[in-house]
Each structure stands twice: as C-alpha cells, then as structure tokens.
C-alpha cells in the first residue's frame, strides 16, 4: 500500500489549541477518535484516497494539555464544531469512533444541516450495563480492542497519555443509557451508518440495534471477525462499506459488485 502522507495542522477553538492530521482531496470527512486518543490506522489512509480526511486530536488527548474545562459531551462537540469552522468546512461527513461516536452524535445534533452523513464505529453512546472501557497494561488493552493484534502497525498509545485523558473520558462518557441524548436522536434524520465488529469485547454488538430503533435514518452493519477497533482489525472491509455509504447514503444497499467472469 502506498503511504499516504498526512500533514499536521492546528486550529484554535474555545481557547484550546487543537491538533489535526489531514490527507486526501474531495468531500471532507472529519474523524473524532476513541478514548485512547488519535492514532492513525490503515483505514485513514484508505479513506484518504476517496475523501479529504481530517482527523482531530480532541483537547485533553495526546500531547495536548490536561483538559479540565470541558464539562459534557455536548460541550466537547461544540468545541469540535468550532474547530471544523476554523478549517473552513461548510458541509462535511463525520465519523466517530467509540467515545468519539458519542461526540459525533452531539455534533450532528448541533449542526444538522451541515453533516452530510454520519459514521459511527463501535459507538459508545449506548452501552450494555456494566460495560467498561479497556484499561490496564498496553497488552491488556490490546486484547480488549483487537481481534487481530498482529495487524496493528502503529505503536501503542503511551500509557501516561492515556491515563492523563481518563478523568475527561469518565466525566464526558455519561451513563450507559443517556436519556437526554436518546430523546434527541429520534429527530436526527442525518443518514447514519453504525458499525460493530462481531467480536467486540468492549461494547456488545447487540447495542447496534438500539441506534436503529431510535434513529429514523440509520443503517447497521456487522463487520465479521473484527473486535472493537474495526478499522484496525479489518481496514479494507471497513473502508469499503464506509466509503460506499458516504458516497451513496441509503442507496449503498444496492450492490454494484460485478459477477461476470469472462465477457
């Protein structure tokens, strides 16, 4: 696979200096990462061949200063919307992973007309009772996140940086069923794709159906043989269905696979 060069940039929003990485051309695709922080996967590279991918590092994650200001997921979403404004996107696609999936839902609620389509990778907005984010040593965390740890190419997130962001994650993640958010989702008509890996050991894949129950324009796809980090476990499979959905929205259910063997 040809290496796609991601450029680094920063924007200022709500008093935070927010880092992002960017690659590709075309329709913008904004990505909000999971509770571990920003980490590029092969899926980012594959998506950057079809979209202008901007992956943010949300304030409080990675090497950014401790964020003890943001009080709620809605507030974080509003900060990220300002960051998107600074980059200059009017309409854009939005993708959120796990923790970032909940932020993406709030962001879509705040900018309904501007989010063309929403992709939620193993979103953490609705969780089974007792679900706990992965914790422990990098090895223990990897066992919870990946069905195929051998496919992880990037080094693990520095445990100290992960630990630094945990109070923020705990503060913002909210209850396993968030009545306030769920009542709003019923009016969110943004085309939405929810993906769960069949081997997700962090959030039960059965949570996927709840989004579909609640949201008027939601599609559910199971990615076979992937755990919580779908885009790392099966980047090609993930990118194909996500790209197809972003381009065709609900018509992505119509197959374009060709089966002619010889003319």
């Amino acid at each position: 696979m040809a290496e796609t060069a991601f450029r680094e940039g920063h924007v200022d929003a709500d008093g935070f200096r927010i880092r992002y990485v960017e690659a590709g051309e075309g329709v913008p695709l904004v990505h909000l990462h999971g509770a571990g922080g920003l980490r590029l996967t092969p899926a980012h590279e594959l998506l950057a061949r079809r979209f202008r991918v901007v992956a943010f590092e949300m304030p409080g994650f990675g090497n950014s200063p401790v964020n003890d200001r943001t009080e709620s997921m809605a507030e974080l979403a509003s900060t990220m919307l300002r960051a998107i404004d600074k980059i200059g996107f009017d309409a854009f696609n939005l993708m959120g992973t796990s923790f970032g999936g909940k932020a993406a839902l709030w962001l879509a609620l705040q900018a309904t007309g501007r989010v063309r389509a929403l992709v939620l990778e193993a979103p953490a907005a609705i969780r089974q009772e007792g679900a706990a984010p992965p914790s422990g040593t990098p090895e223990e965390i990897a066992r919870r996140l990946y069905a195929h740890p051998e496919r992880v190419s990037a080094p693990p997130i520095d445990p100290a940086l992960r630990a630094k962001a945990q109070p923020l994650v705990q503060r913002l993640l909210g209850p396993h069923r968030d009545a306030d958010l769920e009542s709003r989702l019923q009016d969110l008509s943004t085309p939405t794709l929810v993906l769960f890996g069949t081997l997700d050991g962090v959030i039960a894949p059965a949570m996927g159906r709840v989004y579909k129950d609640l949201m008027p324009n939601c599609h559910l796809v199971f990615v076979y043989d992937a755990a919580h980090a779908i885009s790392t476990d099966r980047p090609e499979a993930f990118t194909e269905v996500v790209g197809d959905f972003l381009e065709r929205h609900e018509a992505f259910v119509i197959s374009r696979a060709e089966t002619v063997i010889h003319p």
Partner: protein, 358 residues
Amino acid sequence: MKVSFFETARYQASKPLPSEWPVPSGVYDPEAGARAYRGMIERLELVEELGFDWVSVSEHHYSPRILTPSPIVSAAFLAAHLKKIKIALLGPIVPQSNPVRVAEEIAMLDTMAQGRLVVGLLRGTSNESLTYDLNPAEARERTDEGMELVLKAWTEPQPFGWQGRHYRYRTISIWPRPLQQPHPPTYALGTSRESCDFAARHHLGCGVSYGSFEGVGKATKYYREQCARYGWQPSPEQIIYRANMLLADTDEEAQEMLRKLPGQAPFSMRPGVRDAMMTLDSRNIAGEPRAPVVSGALPTTFVGSPDTVVEQVRRCRDVVGAGVIDLSLHPPGSSDLEPLMRALELFGKKVLPQIRDI
C-alpha cells in the same frame, strides 16, 4: 441415549453402476429414483413407529450413494409425511451455500414442522468441494463465517448488513424466524478444532462421525474443555455420534456381514484428483492433523448381536460422551434393503429398549 436413523434414500439400480465419483447422471433411472423416495417414506414410518427419536438427512451430490443433494428439500418432504419424529437436518454444507438462504429455509421448515427440527451445520466431505467449485483451502473459513451469519440472521431483530471476509450483504431481515426460539437445537458438525471451538463459543452442540470411539472421543473431549473455558457445560444430547452399525441375531452373522462389506471409499475420486485433494484439504481431530477421507471405507464401530451392540453403545457413551447416536444402519450405499429392514426391526425390539437409560 437418544437414537437417530440416518436416512439416505436407498437407490436400487437395475444394473451395477460406476463407482467413481461423480457418477455419470446419464445412468440415473428416474423410475428407480421415484421408488427410492417412496421407499424412504415407508421405511421411516416404521422407524417412527419403532420409537426412534430422530431421522437425519445429509447433503451429498452427484452419486446414488446418498440421494439427497438438497437436505432441506428432503427434510421438508419428511416433515410433511411423518408426524412425531424429529427431523435432523445434518446438514446444509455451509461453505457452498448462501448462509442467509440457509437461515431462511431452516426457519421456514422449523415453523412448518411445528418445531420438530434439529440442525447441524458443516464444512462437508472433501469431494463436495468439487460440487459447486469451492476452493478447499477456503472451505474452513467460509464455514465458520457462514455459520456465524446463519446464527445472526436467526437472532438479530433489526435489518442489518454483513461485511464479511467471504460473504457480503447489505440488507438482511429474515421472515419467518424459527418457531423454536431463539433457534432450533443446532450443532456444529465435525471433529476439527475449529468446529469444536465454534460450537463452544456459540453454545452449540457438537456432532462427530464415523471414527473409532477413541478417535472421535478426542474431539468431544476437546469440545467439552472449550465449553468449560466459555463457562458452560453441554448436555449429553448436545453430542451426536454418527456411525455405521451392522446388527444381526448373532455376533457371527454380524461379523460375516462386516467381512462382505466393500472396502471402498464412499466417494471415490480419480487418483489425480484424490491426491491433489489430500494436499489441499486440511483436516484435523481436535488439532491433530488427519488425512481427509478420500480412500478406504468408513469404519463400522457397532457390530454384533443386540446384546453386544448394547454394550458397545454403553462404551460409546463413556468414551465419546454422546447422548445421541445417529445410525447408518446397514451402511449407506447398500441397495440391499432386506437386511436393513431386518436390522431395523431387531434394533427397535431388542436394542432400543435396552439403551434408553444409557
């Protein structure tokens, strides 16, 4: 012990047929085929009356040996003709089927049969890779993924898409769902580590076949260990052992029948195909490599008089742990029906009453 009769629709040819697989379909006699299916129902009415718990059907192609290429069609036909007995669909060859279709047809049949269905899912015998041009090297992976999709299609209440490795669907939402909820009793069939792992992980039963008690016992032991690892314990009924049985009034007669059995592989392929298949089709018993069954006859593990067979069934329960035996009573492929009917009667009267409490 529960007892299942493995029904193969005995095809009686008027003249000897070529033994090489695939058998040319030009030598098929439509009238003989019609007789085979009529005879099947007559036989199974007796099987039901004798008190067998299940009748099982399987999927095999391109040969008169087992005349049921579509086990779903067989099972539907049986379900319509028989009233009480459970129909064990053992089973669709998953890697060469559309798993969504398999889920739909089983749900439909379970409902039509008033919940009398038992289901086994499997990879299939080596020769069957040739039937629909399945790459044997992909068969295992396609089986695991297909089985998982079947289970998901039965149980997921919302329309969903499946982004698999070998299967891709964007819209799945089956009607009807099975009458037995969440799904009929289901078994992963096979001795392989992969099959046992799958069964243990999904709380399914395990079905093994034709090997010696000790041989298949390795697989069922491994299966039970894996179930324990996943925090549950299978019931005896969750282990099926399919085996050949030769039953006669005396041990001597049964041994004589055994001596007369043709020592030929059930689906004997051309040597070049057989040898290539040996290298491509990887098989194992609980992780220990074994050769695919492409040459040599299947062993007969129950042989003797009723009392001898009862003792063998007892040993099978101890060694294999099976709570269901699925019997090829008088081996399939034999078109000599008279000994089969005698063995059936003998089994119903002299063996069945003695093995209920095993």
